[in-house]
Amino acid sequence: MSWVLLAEQLLNGFTLGLILFLLCAGLTLVFGIMDLVNLAHGSLYMMGAYFCATFTAMTGSFLYAVPLALAATFVLGLIVEVIVLRNLYTRDHLDQVMATFGLILIFNEGVRQIWGADGEVIPLPAFLDSNFELVFGIVYPTYRLLIICVGLLVALGLYVLVTHTRVGMLIRGGASNREMLSALGINVKQLFTLIFGLGAALAGLAGLMAGPIEQATIGMGERILILAFVVIVIGGIGSIRGSFIAAILVGVIDTMGRSFLEDFLSLVMPANYAETAGPALSSMSIYIVMAAVLAIRPQGLFPPRTG
């Protein structure tokens, strides 16, 4: 194992972690503040990627498509909240799971009707679709560096928004005591719609950032949504700080497990066993971490300070 490889794998872990964070930030806000289990969050992730593919084809550039796709997922989020989810806040979690699972089916079938089953390619501009040498011979794809930068900027932006602005104060207020907030004359309904729109846009951002690496495909959201739930359980439900740290942790553990677990195992067991056990264990690794967190600290590593 060389240091260059280790550094490269750390960067890969960060990339995955930051995409997960973008998805989790919205999910944890909605889950933690509005107490809504939204399985359709992954669908918004998928829609971000599909919107981006369409706008890229229309405008001819990924860079123009990004703000358009963000705006589109934001609006879509508002629509979904007003039509469907608003009616679910007071229902129990099972109803919410049922309804939002239905939304997944509707979104998947809708995408199939509009875009077809075979997925959409999102072409990148040439300067992003390349790679460059960072330091000490670490060659890294430009686009993945962009993901890291965007993820960190969004994290910073959310931190400032939540802790240093009036909107953030209202969000925190809504989380601690919904009734008191509305008694003080704040339109909580409107606030929740706005938060949901923000979460949707973040999910859309995650999807459109992931799109050029894979492809916009049906079901891309469900695959990553499971990881996202793992992240918010580890991080503490409702905590943006927790989901940031947990997302990076999950990204790095998952990548490192895939990269090095087999080599480590082969030190303690015959190579052919390690070859079988390595991939199996590495795909379990983050769930093992989640189980450990649930056993030792069920509220998550960084639960929100409320109450």
Binding site: L5, G116, A117, V121, D129, V139, P141, T142, E214, G219
Partner: protein, 428 residues
């Protein structure tokens, strides 16, 4: 073709509708459920209930299990399109029996594939169960078919188990055994002087066969190997970084469907296309090439793959098939399509050999063992395990006359090659 009420459709999508009619499956080329089709499906389903004997006498019932939903549905669509062309070429009839086709969706999942298979056996009582893209789906579905005494014909998957110890007299393949194509690639790598190889493949039945295949013939050193989580993992950055660090002479991959597209894109984004050449099996095909072209992945042009078939393979029936397919669908057929076409033609040869007596299982089997039909790949023989003994070619990705990306045959790697598991099969 067994047709009822079909004249009501009156549009050129009628074949597709016929295919999806009984199963209620959603036909991808139609972009979804056609309500009229649904209504007709109900009517004809009722007609069947009221007169099952009538249907059984006049038709050859073929069940076709493939992936219709999920992004892998693109593969299933290619297969169903090819089956429809085969039915067209046969004029809708096998001898004097009409063809009744029932398409089922496995949703890319072994459990769903098995359920669909059991439905075809018990509820539809088909004569032939065919299709199957995925080895893990086929392995889960094989037992119910074999226990029922019906014929099972794989149009793609070729897991080692069914070629070896679990072979059965009623199982046939119109494709290949999984190990064969990568074995041919291993020979190509030796010829090209590749000394060390980094291997990346998904961690499921077919992926394991592909890896053991290339390892069997490749004489150089395996510099590293990664088995990725299937089908969940689509980001290969960790594997690509390891491949780069290994300084291997070549990277061998097997990633069917959209995973291949994602892999090659990331391979190019990482700049590895300038460092380590890529050798693929079942990754660069007629389904992925248009996507590569759309995404400007020029690195794919000139890359090599091995296969038993190619769109430019020079047999009269292949030319006719490729031309008709392109005329109807505006794209090249894939090997999945070619094998599915062959499946229908193999059944046709057997049904005609027994004069339409589909209860004559022994006669049908003996006829199929002869492989006496115009296969797109040309004449081949069946081994004792009912896998084809056939040629394998080296293919290169090129631009055709109209600028579309396709592949052409460069050389023959194996002549009349038989899979290695045939010796473990008890049949003779």
């Amino acid at each position: 073709m067994e047709i009822r009420c079909d004249s009501m459709m009156g549009d050129d999508s009628y074949r597709d509708n016929v295919v999806s009619r009984r199963s209620g499956a959603i036909e991808p080329s139609q972009g979804g459920i056609n309500m009229k089709t649904r209504a007709i499906a109900l009517v004809s389903a009722m007609a069947l209930l009221s007169s099952p004997a009538w249907a059984a006498e006049d038709t050859v019932k073929i069940g076709f299990v493939t992936t219709i939903t999920t992004p892998a549905g693109v593969i299933g669509k290619d297969m169903v399109d090819a089956v429809n062309i085969a039915v067209d070429h046969l004029g809708g009839k096998m001898g004097d029996k009409s063809i009744e086709l029932i398409v089922e969706d496995d949703q890319f999942k072994p459990d769903i594939g098995k359920q669909a298979t059991e439905k075809l056996i018990k509820e539809d009582d088909v004569d032939f169960v065919t299709g199957y893209i995925w080895s893990h789906v086929l392995l889960a579905s094989a037992k119910p078919v074999i226990d029922s005494g019906k014929f099972l014909i794989s149009s793609n998957a070729g897991p080692s188990q069914l070629a070896g110890k679990q072979c059965d007299e009623n199982f046939f393949s119109t494709s290949w055994q999984n190990d064969q194509t990568p074995m041919a690639m291993g020979e190509v790598l030796n010829q090209r002087g590749v000394k060390s190889l980094y291997v990346i493949a998904p961690n499921y039945a077919a992926g394991k066969n592909m890896v053991s295949g290339v390892e069997r013939t490749f004489k150089g050193e395996i510099a590293g190997k990664d088995m990725t989580k299937w089908p969940d993992q689509i980001d290969f950055s960790a594997e690509l970084a390891k491949a780069r660090a290994s300084n291997a002479d070549g990277i061998f991959i097997f990633f069917p469907g959209k995973h291949g597209g994602a892999f090659i894109k990331q391979y190019q984004q990482a700049g590895l296309d300038k460092e380590i050449p890529l050798y693929t099996v079942f990754t660069v095909d007629s389904l992925s090439l248009p996507k590569f072209q759309e995404g400007n992945l020029e690195g794919v042009l000139g890359s090599f793959t091995t296969s038993y078939w190619s769109p430019d393979l020079d047999t009269p029936q292949n030319k006719k098939f490729v031309n008709d397919f392109k005329a109807k669908h505006g794209r090249y057929p894939s090997h999945y399509a070619a094998q599915s076409y062959d499946t229908i033609m193999l059944i046709d040869s057997a049904v005609r050999a027994v004069d339409g007596d589909t209860n004559n299982i022994g006669g049908l089997r003996a006829a199929m063992e002869k492989a006496d039909y115009p296969s797109l790949r040309g004449k081949y023989a069946y081994g004792n395990n009912h896998f084809p003994i056939q040629n394998f070619y080296l293919r290169e990705v090129v631009k055709d006359d109209s600028g579309d990306w396709t592949s052409k045959i460069v050389s023959t790697v194996y002549k009349d090659h038989q899979d290695v598991y045939a010796v473990e099969c008890k049949l003779d």
